[in-house]
Symmetry: D2
Subunit: 474 residues, 4 copies
């Protein structure tokens, strides 16, 4: 068991408030760290503001080198990182390794993008008023950033805020989830060994009061939040003058057309539905299948789901493990119960044992049931059927959320309709909505989010333009 | 005197609440219109939502034709527009004509940009997870927009919201200032004659309750506000889930280096300082001159200011007329009095007659005085001197605002420092901060604003991306 | 009958060498103009070089106004232009009107693009060697351009060189085809009335010697040629140091998948195959249809082709008229005869009367026959069938040309394969290769061309970059 | 002494024709390699064509990994590479190390750019003809590339062709200079160990006949040549249908304004003038100094030049060593003699000892002298003075070449004039024209070149666009 100090304004320290981190699978102690209070946050803010201009003026080749050093640092400890992550998050090792690899990618991409910050050179002489003038738009760092990351990708979703902040020349104070702070504090050690000015990055698990200050303190110029919709939208209201980006959840849907490769669709949907017990913003929650292929798809989907292997997260053969805590498993159980009470039918699974909830397939649902209407964040998938493609589109859109959607089809017109009509941030053709490659623009519409991430896009959000209009003839 | 009906959900109508519009110069009646209440707003919203998808799907060549038709429509009534504008806003005719010409430009540019909406085509295969995939980002209209425009550019600042809304395929409901609703209602007649679907644009002077609803009603997806900082920032807090852009004011500064062309600097600063009595967001409020050229600049600046001709707005020889109302002239008078009481010295002007305030030059000011610290929105300019360029930069930055700044210099290093260090949205070299060409990115940082306008940039704010990830080999 | 003077270095003049222009349909005299010799070319070159720097420095708003004035000028004489064009080229009026409308479009687009010339602002500090530096790339006009246009689109293909030249700030000397010089000389009158500096555009029908000089004279910095492959490739060799772009021909193919809308495919193929008697670079020459729908497609194709109405070009009901001259009609006849002699079968047409060749459908062809292997530039279409999509791809690629191809399909994988595998400059899904909208990038690969046109793309070819590396801190 | 096999179509081999590589400083044997003849070239071409489609379809992450592996491979043998390079080229070690570092950079940048190949997504519906259509432009590899590299940067200028070729998915056959083939053959070993398909890269010193075939063989789709103007322009004529880019030489000039930092200017000009004995395309050949600072600059320039340390290339303290061969040193000597005979005055140096030519400063030159008019490619700098800035501009422009120019100034108007008026590919403010960072667009106008290099720009030249027009509603 390791004691992880928190990373405060460029230095590691302890506080009086100890935070024990437990493995969700067996409640074993994974490690200890500390809760930051107002003084640690204050120190982090002050040190961040001190280096603000240094970061702004950091030549691009230095940003690049620092970010590549961090990528190398993680790569060199890949298994170590994956193990901590698996244990603190209860995430099966194969997915934990995948997450670590993605975090490496994020730093590499951020390194590359740091050399490609946006710049515009524009003509001004469109009217006589602009004769002999031209414009240059340089993008400057927005200022101190507050980042808030969730438990489900404790490394990668935090890194999606830290890496762009470094690339764009902004200081950042990051609050990890209380249940999963260790992996990202492990990263702090690597960051600390680079030439990045001290204070540029702070990583602090926080008490509620300090957490609120991230939202309300006007010294932060931006709040970048990933988490639940209710919390996120409330923050937007309380954020004062600062910029806010929100990466929230959804109830992602999949359409399976009768032109699709059914075997591929079924396989991908099983992974998209049950990976990390569905505790993923873009997990496959609602599937709708063309009636001609419904039975074929369903049979295969059930069969593949049955094959999923339950076990401890750090075991490399485990497909599915416990949910993050019993509280959430109970919530999922209640939602399923509610659905059944209202006419839904369980085709597989449906049972809970402690924090473990079985991979579950439900049908005959309706839009009012929580398993459809809300983000389930658990290993539950609903499957229904359709006869006309437009019906499937309306089914997916009949939701207050709009993050991503998957469409399995080989028909051009169906692809076009899906892109034009699905009210989501991303439509994935012939793959599950769960697909995310780290450089793509990512984020939701409707209640699913505000703003975009995906390194280049996150960097853009962290910059503000400053136009120079200059003479050309003076 | 003409009675102007308001433009509600695609039709013109009257309400019980009559609004009389007076000429600020002589209180003569310019025209009458009506105040919209909740029912008119509700109808506008409903009709806007009805045509939302039609607008989204409008082919680009139709958007282009509609926008060009509007530009032509204004061009054909250029003098008519300028006269109404001059009279309702008390704006000298030459500036009113300039504003009409700029509004024509805005529609032309919007027509052109409607054909150039952003689209991205991106590689996805940066890791094995993305193999055989590629991405398309199409930008979709954000949804119903609430626009709020100020009195000082009653046509052009409204048009900076309406034209991009049409170009981007969004419906918009625009609230003009109560003191200056007529010019923009004149535009409504032109818009109404195009093929733009009815309901796409509504223009409604409003009572307070309806105005508040623009901010709080969740059916609006975006609020685009131009006006005062206090009102704007409050709106951001009340806006719920919608996107907000704010174009607020400032206390724009000018630096005159000893390398500058002093004659040019003085002339441009007089225009920038007193055009429309300084009732311009980017009017020249604070000038700082290098000590070597201070006397030379000041003498010339005073001389040119003395030559400004006072008169009625609709007279083509008038340089300066009354302010928008006596209330504001009294406010300016009080601020000047406060400055003098604290040690400032009036070099020219300083007197008020009704709503007219003389072009005024003050020196020996300090940062706490309202004439420096706040947005004066009146014909008052402060002039101070500096010896080191960095001192001038700090002087400009010593403000809670940051819209634009002007720098007169012929030295590369001064230009570089100005671009890198001035905390503003735009740095104008060898011209006044008052320079704005309509296609350039425009907007402030610090308390001066949130987001950018300038057709292409406004359009971007009114769109949201939707990624399509597709196979390349399937 | 009108006498059209030629446009030499900014002035209109006659020469001793009269050129009579005849209507291909009835050999009636359409008009007279003159052949330029060495002296006229020399004067044009000298005057062009004199205004080179004036053009380079022309503010963008002036370029815009000039180009829009030209667009308006053509619009005001739309029918007049179409009539001359129809008569001199033997082009049915409906297509002539279409060409005039497209020429108007080209000038409007060029006006818009003249304000959006490329400009780059780039970071230089990717290594310590670039610290504190940044780069600006401004694009400068390449210099004097020689344009050579063909007979088949005497207005629009000339305009695709002239409009971008004006937009990019380059002088141009344009040589129209001898058979069709009148429409473009009509344009010269409009150009001459604008504020474009005299000498910027010259339009000269030429004798062979002068024509050769366009290729070899080193005072030309660029040669932009549209015409036949053999001539074009030879010019590239003789062009010395100048830049060359070639828009040549092809033997464009169409694939009709069994997933396609056959009625739509047949209709579009008839237009693409026989419009202007196939005297179009991207006319439909080779069709290959999936065996499942072959009969259905063929029946409909024959039926529609039979309905085409032969007549004089200036008649608005005419679908098809004479070819440009009897020489070409005889050539087409010989090629068809050669095909039949080698086993091909005529399904419709095949007969010649003077310069008129019937709309002809052939099948059972092979790749060696001239009707397949070469650019027929006549109203002849071959139709074959396939069983596997890859076979159709190979069929289209089995050619030394690669301009555009059309693919009628509703299958995503077929669209993907077509884009990835068809060796052409443009793949048109669900339309004929004959589709060209004027702003799209257009040009061929293999023997079909070198470089791209399509206003923005043509402008890019007519510019050369000049980097400025500047300090940011000096 | 090592024997370096040549890299033919993916394998290493010897030929009958041995090539001995000597150190220019002392004629010691650096290594041996082989001259390829027609059979080796034929094998290289065949193998290249075999893997053409494999390269085209190589996922981007694989291109990235291969290119990063090569960068790492060079980094691991940095000193080894620098030593061979110093010895075969007679390049002082410090410059050789710099070149190796730049080659590493080039592969890193190419790796990054391989993920960012251009792609366009465009609207088509600008007219009714384009309704319901949209366009995608994908860039495809142009095909087999012939690269020809010069002796002076035997590694980096070859790598500027190889790395973009790999990034863009094209096979390449590279011909190094006969005097300096070893470093690049050392690179071949590293390339061979990656997963790059065999045959994608061949590196062959060649006899004349094989060399000519690179130019004339139509199986090559592109020729990328770096070398002397006379050879390059001849190749353009002989190249048939293939695309040609030429990176040729010049007689780069520097302007020193009286506003400049003279100490900085003098130091940078000495390096730019004499590094690698001026055998650099962008070496400082002609300096023109404002009369007010002429003496000050000249004194300092002479003083610093005197301090340059002559010695063997592999010695880390050596500033200047022998030229590439005695033939070239004799040529330089003759040019200097010619200048003196016509009135020029030698201020320093001017003597030759074998292949070594002293760092030389000449004044009182005129434009006809070869030391001014031609590319000297030796350690000779001319210095003159001016009184008006326009005079200096004309001086620089009075040349048939136009590669890069340096301007030392702190005046905005001088910078503007320089950018607008200097007829070159790049204007470097406050640095020498010798500045090149590897990602910037690089290339000359006038007789100095054709096309651009600089990874991203070279990649662009190696691609050709293919448009897909697709329906959006079908």
């Amino acid at each position: 068991m390791e004691v992880h100090q928190i990373y405060v304004g460029g230095g590691f320290c302890k506080t009086d408030s100890v935070l024990k981190v437990l493995n969700p699978f067996d409640q074993s102690l994974v490690g200890e760290t500390f809760i930051a209070g107002k003084p640690e946050l204050e120190l982090s803010i002050e040190n961040a503001l001190k280096v603000k201009n240094v970061l702004r003026d950091l030549p691009l080749f230095k940003r690049y080198l620092i970010l590549m050093e961090i990528a190398d640092g993680i790569k060199n400890k890949r298994n170590h990182f994956a193990n901590i992550l698996a244990c603190e998050a209860g995430k099966p090792l194969k997915y934990a390794l995948g997450e670590v690899d993605r975090a490496i990618q994020v730093f590499i991409i951020a390194a590359e993008e740091s050399k490609r910050l946006p710049k515009e050179y524009l003509s001004i002489d469109w009217t006589p008023a602009g004769e002999n003038k031209e414009g240059l738009v340089k993008y400057f760092p927005i200022g101190l950033i507050a980042g808030i990351a969730p438990f489900n990708f404790p490394l990668n979703l935090a890194v999606h805020k830290i890496a762009p902040a470094i690339a764009s020349g902004n200081p950042i104070i990051l609050k990890p989830a209380r249940s999963t702070p260790l992996t990202i504090l492990e990263l702090a050690k690597i960051i600390d060994q680079t030439e990045l000015p001290k204070g540029a990055v702070s990583i602090l698990p926080m008490d509620r009061e300090a957490g609120n200050q991230l939202v309300t303190d006007e010294r932060f110029n931006m709040l970048s939040f990933t988490g639940s919709p209710a919390v996120g939208w409330k923050m937007k209201q309380d954020a004062g003058k600062k910029k806010v980006t929100l990466e929230l959840g959804g109830n992602a849907g999949v359409i399976v057309s009768d032109s699709a490769n059914i075997e591929m669709a079924a396989k991908k949907c099983v992974t998209g539905g049950y990976a990390y017990s569905g505790q993923v913003c873009i997990h496959v929650q609602r599937i709708i299948v063309h009636e001609n292929v419904y039975v074929q798809f369903l049979d295969r989907f059930i069969e593949l789901t049955k094959n999923l292997k339950f076990g401890p997260p750090a075991d490399e053969n485990t497909d599915i493990s416990s949910m993050i805590d019993e509280e959430n498993a109970i919530r999922v159980e209640e939602w399923v119960t509610e659905a059944v009470a209202n006419g839904a039918k369980i085709l597989l699974g449906g049972k809970r044992t402690g924090a473990f909830f079985e991979p579950t397939i439900i049908t005959k649902t309706n839009r009012e049931m929580k398993v459809c209407a809300l983000e389930i964040f658990g290993p539950v998938v609903t499957i229904e059927k359709f006869s006309e493609f437009d019906e499937a589109i309306r089914f997916i859109n009949d939701s207050e959320f709009g993050l991503q959607a998957g469409v399995f089809t080989n028909i051009i017109s169906e692809m076009n309709h899906a892109h034009n009509e699905l009210e989501v941030g991303g439509v994935i053709i012939n793959d599950v909505p769960t697909l995310r490659v780290d450089h793509m623009p990512y984020g939701g519409i409707k209640n699913s989010g505000f703003g975009r991430e995906g390194i280049k896009y996150a960097i853009q959000e962290m910059l503000e333009p400053r136009l120079l209009v200059k003479n050309t003839d003076y």
